[in-house]
């Protein structure tokens, strides 16, 4: 039963329906809580089943596959299955959804609708990560976009309508690019008998003509790149994150940005190896710009959420850098960074949301001395910060170092310089994180009102503990994640290497 992947979509959908039928907000949040707990347990069980299966010597590329014809005349299938990379992303999704529900415990207005949309987002993300059919993949990508508009526009803060519109329009533009890229692949996937396919495992080995790849790859990569806040299409991120309610920020940065990274890897790089090699340098260049420029732009931010949003641009640059470098280690690092950044940024936005709920401000210079009055939440913020600046023992370090190790294997001067610049960002990161911590959390208490704040409640403690545990699980014992991802990074790399440009 644990190996039935469709459950991963059905459980959140059922939870969403159940939430919709709840009588009041209290019932809705408990239903959502139970629903997300089920998802967490299910994902955990699925991961265990996956490990057991691999240990038993199952070497199939995708496990637990399931396929049904969906729209036979176009050969669209509901085709799902997981490899190590998907398992990692599914675990991430489960953690973020679970803690997102816990953090949203105090949502008062329209709480039923809020949790309904949250569950729907979860369903979209799970579906995306298990899809092996390009069309199914695209379908779930869209499912995960629309609820964001409502979440931000209804429950957001600040200039929420503007941000919601901006975010959804930009992501939609990304989807449109993906769609065109996808259709061109489909059109050229003819096996000679007029049979075309959306099946990614087939497409990857179909020898799509180079011209088509060179046309479709930029579309697809940019499209997914917009999701993962690739420079220069990242501007939805700061506005969107800062206007979104806490749980939506967590979801947006924790999972939604990873949909893009995953897509760049699985749909663009894996399916179009020659083009991936051709365009490698552009990806590396854009990623390096995002890393450096994002971190410098963060230096100037004054709002806690803007700080984290810009730093996400910089951190997601590592994902793209890892993918662009096209070595096994770098790709492993990119996936690790997705997982690590997902958990870490969820914790970060969670902490900011919890602090904001109490202080009603996110301006760094208005905060101060919180460590004295709300030590638990402040410690959570500090831990998230230390993870973000890549402290060993936390997940960020492992992921970044793996990307660096992988990138260093490209010995030409251009890639070397980009790698060193990317490494240099760890210094800038330390500067902005420590500035934020030093001003907002440490220092003297700046506002009389702050000395009466109440520290975290049980749900907030549980959410923080779960995320910190995940960060430590990766940071202290990275080998399990590494063993999970590496074989599949290897498969992707082998396919890319068929292009022949890379030894």
């Amino acid at each position: 039963m644990m190996t039935n992947l469709t459950l991963l979509i059905l459980v959140p959908l059922l939870a969403a329906v159940a939430v919709a039928f709840c009588r009041n907000g209290e019932q809705a949040k408990w239903t959502a809580f139970i629903g997300s707990l089920c998802q967490l347990l299910l994902s955990g069980a699925m991961a265990f089943a996956y490990f057991a299966e691999r240990k038993a010597g199952n070497t199939a590329q995708m496990l637990f596959t399931e396929r049904h014809s969906w729209f036979s005349s176009l050969n669209i299938e509901y085709y799902v299955g997981v490899d190590g990379i998907s398992v990692a992303m599914i675990l991430l999704t489960a953690f973020v959804v679970f803690t997102g529900v816990l953090i949203s415990w105090n949502v008062q207005t329209l709480s039923r609708e809020f949790f309904f949309l949250l569950m729907l987002l979860g369903a979209g993300a799970y579906g995306f990560f298990i899809s092996l059919d390009l069309f199914t993949l695209f379908f779930f990508l869209e499912v995960a976009v629309i609820p964001k508009f409502l979440l931000i526009a209804i429950w957001g803060s600040g200039k929420k309508e503007y941000s919601a519109m901006k975010l959804v329009l930009m992501l939609m533009a990304g989807s449109a690019l993906v769609l065109i890229g996808m259709l061109s692949l489909y059109y050229y996937s003819d096996d000679g008998n007029g049979n075309r396919t959306f099946d990614m495992l087939k497409l990857a080995y179909q020898n799509i003509p180079l011209e088509v790849q060179l046309f479709a790859f930029p579309l697809m990569f940019t499209g997914f790149g917009i999701f993962t806040a690739m420079f220069p299409f990242h501007t939805w991120a700061p506005d969107g994150h800062s206007s979104a309610p806490t749980a939506a920020s967590m979801f947006l940065a924790g999972i939604s940005m990873k949909l893009g990274g995953y897509g760049c890897l699985r749909a663009a790089t894996y399916l179009m190896p020659e083009a991936a090699q051709e365009y490698s340098w552009i990806i590396v260049l854009l990623a390096t710009i995002a890393i450096i420029y994002g971190s410098f732009a963060t230096l100037m931010q004054k709002d806690l959420k803007y700080i984290n949003a810009y730093s996400s641009v910089s951190h997601c640059g590592f994902v793209l850098l890892g993918i662009g470098m096209l070595t096994k280690t770098a790709i492993t690092g990119a996936v690790m960074q997705m997982v690590s950044h997902g958990v870490m940024t969820a914790l970060f936005f969670g902490a900011i949301g919890m602090i904001y709920e109490r202080t009603h401000t996110r301006q760094v210079e208005q905060l101060g001395g919180l460590l004295k009055t709300i030590p638990f939440l402040s410690t959570v913020y500090i831990i998230a910060g230390l993870c973000s600046l890549g402290l060993p023992g936390f997940s960020g370090f492992v992921a970044e170092m793996t990307v660096f190790m992988g990138s260093w294997q490209r010995p030409d001067t251009f890639n070397r310089i980009c790698t060193i610049l990317a490494c240099a960002s760890i210094v800038v990161t330390a500067v902005y994180i420590l500035r934020a911590i030093g001003q907002a959390v440490m220092g003297p208490i700046t506002n009389e009102h702050y000395s009466h704040l109440k520290d975290a409640t049980w749900n907030e403690r549980l959410a923080s503990a779960a995320l910190i545990l995940a960060i430590l699980a990766i940071g202290l014992a990275p080998f399990w994640l590494n063993n999970l991802i590496t074989p599949d990074a290897q498969i992707i790399m082998e396919n890319v290497a068929r292009g022949g440009l890379i030894e």
Binding site: M401, F404, I426, G438
Partner: protein, 644 residues
């Protein structure tokens, strides 16, 4: 050769203590966390001593040569079958010596803090951080893998950050902690790139393999030497970058700016982290990679020597002008670490490895007497509630034990026989003399200046004004027993540590070293030091106008030294003026106005365009009819035209 597994307990005990204190101790038994931390560290220290005894006297040497023993090693993160980050423990003379120093000084600081930090609101947090630091430092010195050392390197950095910023409601402490972390992080960037570079060419991260491949002729060594960037070989780049990391941690010029500010932390922390252990990590790192430095890349070793000797003199000059007693000690630490650095820099591998041995020896004795100096200073600060020399004076009557132990430490650092510093300094000077006369000259000068400023400090605290303004009748100047015992123990060690047979135990290649006693190197510097002490006595033992006159006479130099040669100002200009204003601000502006402006412009253009064509869909039937017929006419005309 697999070694004993109990070594793992040495770092793990503090780690477990950290976890217990921060998870439950903080809340349920805050009063006992100090005892818990101290007890667990006492066990750790006992195991370390036992390990050292086992290593040095029982099983460490084969045919009189000390071996490297891998006690245990677990793969932590594998990049490829050959390249992986392992967590392990490598026992060799320097790491065994270091675990003894670290656990012992840490134990002293733990005991001392029981008294010093008593009644502190975050008492248990303090002990949690101390345990975290001790764990990280032990992990660092035991590292068997170059990436492992980097991991613990960062961890000691963050423990130092947390402890410097311990009084987090003081803005100056927060600023100092931030500065310490960022400056060392900047240096660590060099370290990281250095590791990537060395590991790429040596195709391993394991210390033993790495050193073996890069210090003996072969394909790996040829490969890394022939690869070059800007005309300098990859090996030199790699080693210099690694050294930058070490220089940052060890506060070498010009990366020293964080150390004086780090004195914002509690004084016992300064004794442990910023005097005895963490700051010598850079020296340890160079010593760890010494075979590569010495045998494959003498250029990098020359750089180490130059940076070391310059920092040493530079810091000594500044120390003469500072008035905050902890800052004087901080600059003195920097100066003494400079000593250890250049001792390594002038050394060779093997038979002529006197400098290496002397450097490790000085590291050992310095840990004892510098920890003692800081703990003594802590006792003084505890008593007078100020760091400034002007608030002190005549304290010898009120704090006899602190006074005597402080005097011992001063004599030790000044290099007066038979105190510990004399022996190690003498070896360093001998090594320098045989290698480079200029370095020798600068080192002797530094030694004299050191004696001068240390006794300036000593006389200003314990003599000078006879009537202390604040504590005239208070005879209970000494702290509690917990503070006195560490002073006495360290005092005793500062007398006898010099007799440790280092040339038999800790050498660059494990072979015992034959050293001779040179009267010239012993007598000359001692004579200079005594003269410097007498000068200090004349100037500072009694209230006198002399120091004022001299500083007046050398005004420009004095001012420059007092202002620490304006290095801080230069840094401030670079960070604020260039990085913030010329890079950060424009990036943020470009992002909001150009990149995002373009997105917004596309939206605006679309909107305006639709606004423009909107009137066409007016809903007025007459207008539609006009358009319809106009279109029809147009098409008819077009057809007629084409037909013709």
């Amino acid at each position: 050769m697999p070694g004993p597994l109990y070594i793992a307990l040495i770092p793990l005990l503090p780690l477990i203590t950290f976890a217990i204190i921060s998870l439950v101790g903080n809340r349920y038994f805050p009063k006992f966390t100090g005892i818990l931390g101290t007890t667990s560290l006492a066990i750790s220290a006992t195991i370390s001593l036992f390990t050292a005894w086992q290593y040095f006297f029982v099983e460490g040497s084969v045919n009189g040569v000390y071996q490297q023993i891998i006690s245990f090693k677990y793969t932590w993160l594998e990049f490829s079958p050959n390249v992986s980050i392992d967590m392990g423990a490598l026992l060799d003379p320097i790491s065994v010596m270091m675990i003894v120093v670290v656990t012992f000084v840490s134990l002293m600081v733990h005991i001392y803090s029981l008294g010093y930090m008593k009644g502190e609101e975050r008492f248990s947090t303090y002990y949690a951080f101390l345990s975290l630091f001790t764990f990280s430092m032990l992990g660092l010195v035991l590292s068997s893998n170059i990436f492992q050392i980097y991991i613990f390197w960062e961890l000691v950095g963050v423990s130092s950050y947390l402890l410097i910023g311990f009084y987090f409601d003081k803005p100056s402490a927060v600023a100092a902690s931030k500065k310490a972390f960022i400056v060392t992080r900047f240096a660590d960037l060099g370290f990281l790139v250095g590791i990537l570079l060395l590991a790429f060419h040596a195709e391993t991260l394991d210390f033993q393999t790495l050193i073996q491949r890069l210090s003996t002729p072969g394909d790996y060594l040829n490969g890394i030497i022939s690869a070059s960037f800007l005309g300098v070989s990859a090996l030199t780049w790699g080693l210099v970058l690694v050294f930058i990391g070490g220089a940052g941690k060890s506060a070498m010029f010009p990366l020293h700016v964080w150390l004086p500010d780090a004195m914002e932390g509690p004084t016992p922390v300064s004794a442990l982290i910023h005097a005895a252990t963490m700051v010598v990590a850079g020296v340890f790192l160079v010593a760890r990679l010494f075979p590569i430095f010495a045998m494959s890349c003498p250029v990098a070793l020359d750089i180490v020597a130059c940076v070391g000797v310059f920092s040493s003199l530079f810091a000594a000059i500044i120390a003469c002008t500072q008035t905050d007693i902890k800052r004087v000690l901080a600059y003195s630490t920097m100066s003494q670490i400079g000593y250890m650095m250049f001792a390594l820099g002038v050394s060779e591998y093997g038979e002529n490895g006197l400098g290496y041995m002397a450097s490790m020896f000085h590291l050992f004795t310095h840990a004892m007497f510098k920890a003692l100096l800081f703990l003594g200073a802590g006792a003084v600060i505890h008593y007078v509630h100020s760091n400034e020399m002007k608030d002190m004076g005549g304290l010898r009557k009120f704090m006899p034990i602190t006074h005597i132990t402080f005097l011992i430490a001063c004599l030790a650092i000044a290099g007066i026989p038979p105190f510990a510093g004399f022996f190690s300094k003498e070896e360093i000077l001998t090594a320098a003399f045989h290698s480079n006369k200029l370095i020798f000259g600068l080192a002797v000068t530094t030694a004299a200046i050191t004696a001068f400023y240390m006794f300036r400090l000593y006389f200003s605290i314990f003599w000078k004004s006879e009537h202390h303004p604040h504590h005239g009748d208070d005879h209970h100047g000494e702290g509690p027993k917990t503070m006195l015992i560490p002073l006495l123990v360290l005092g005793l060690l500062s007398i006898v540590a010099g007799f440790a047979p280092f040339h038999h135990l800790v050498t660059s290649d494990g072979h015992p070293l034959h050293t001779e006693f040179h009267l010239l190197f012993a007598a000359g510097p001692v004579l200079l030091a005594i003269i410097a002490i007498i000068v200090a006595m004349v100037m500072y033992k009694k209230e006198s106008a002399l120091p004022g006159k001299i500083s007046e006479g050398l005004k420009s130099i004095y001012q420059a030294a007092y202002r620490k040669f304006y290095i801080d100002e230069i840094y401030l200009f670079v960070t604020k003026g260039i990085i913030f204003n010329l890079i950060g601000r424009p990036s943020a502006w470009i992002d909001r106005n150009i990149v995002d402006g373009f997105m917004n412009m596309m939206a605006t253009v679309t909107e305006n365009f639709s606004d423009t064509i909107k009137p066409i869909q007016s809903g007025k039937l007459q207008l539609y009819a006009v358009w319809f017929f106009a279109g029809l006419m147009g098409m008819v005309l077009l057809f007629i035209y084409l037909w013709a």
